[in-house]
Symmetry: C2
Subunit: 155 residues, 2 copies
Amino acid sequence: MMKEAEEPIGELFDGDIDAVMRKFIGYNLKRAYIVLHQVATQALDAHDLRVRSFSALSLIVGNPGVSPSELADMLQMERSNLVLIVDELESRDLISRTRMKLDRRRYALKATLRGRRLHEKAAAAIRRADERPLLRLTAEDRAQLVNLLSKIEMG
Amino acid sequence: MMKEAEEPIGELFDGDIDAVMRKFIGYNLKRAYIVLHQVATQALDAHDLRVRSFSALSLIVGNPGVSPSELADMLQMERSNLVLIVDELESRDLISRTRMKLDRRRYALKATLRGRRLHEKAAAAIRRADERPLLRLTAEDRAQLVNLLSKIEMG
DNA sequence: TATTGTTATACTCTATAACTATA
DNA sequence: TATAGTTATAGAGTATAACAATA
């Protein structure tokens, strides 16, 4: 019987060990995404925000009067799962929730002054925290990256 | 009192509605990743594999004799959460799990013939499914994209 | 003492169904 | 009938602590 390598593979370079997976763009995407997500999570922690709630707050800041349903669409999550997030943002007085006059089923969400201020600070914190992992990317690289990513999204 | 736009924002272009978030590379990364992850999930469904278990199988195929702990490191997940995945792969006879002679605490994981065959079919299915979302990317674009992503990972 | 694999457990995220109030 | 917001619930995915076997 042939002797096969069965014992510890020992020290392989990082680039070799997951070579099978590196062929897939999605794998490379995920690894890079994890880095930026972790960095953002840490940066937001000081402001008592998670990436999800920061995203929700951002979209409300950028789209005053947006409804929870529209927000759920943008965030690609279920309406039902958005409820707690919106609840929390409202209870912290970061957003207001008022019924729409033309369609009383819907709510109009708006960031309060407090919400806009926190959003600005949190966004700045992420930009600052992003500097490290994005250090090797020039402004041109970043534009190029976003452009390539958008092509994937367009399908 | 000033009248403010409170009613439905109506039809905004997709590019405008999340403009606040598009400034963050991480957001663009996530959106593109979601597309490829969904496509891969669908492609793997026919082979009764999830992205996680396919990744584990791939890494075992590519690194015969790897231990569960090493696998957990590569997959960036806890050892404890890997147990069920390895259990399932073994119970489906896709991998074998044998104690190492030099260190009897550890297991050597190897793909079976059946496992290698399924892996090849599943990988081909993902490559096929990836064609659509990657249609707009030339071979050069893809290399460039992977290169930019690796820079983010390097920090 | 430290490490590997394992179990149990909890917490987050996500998905589905059903309800209410409005349309 | 259909839609918006909500509730309840179940399923993934993930993180932590503790244990037995082994080093």
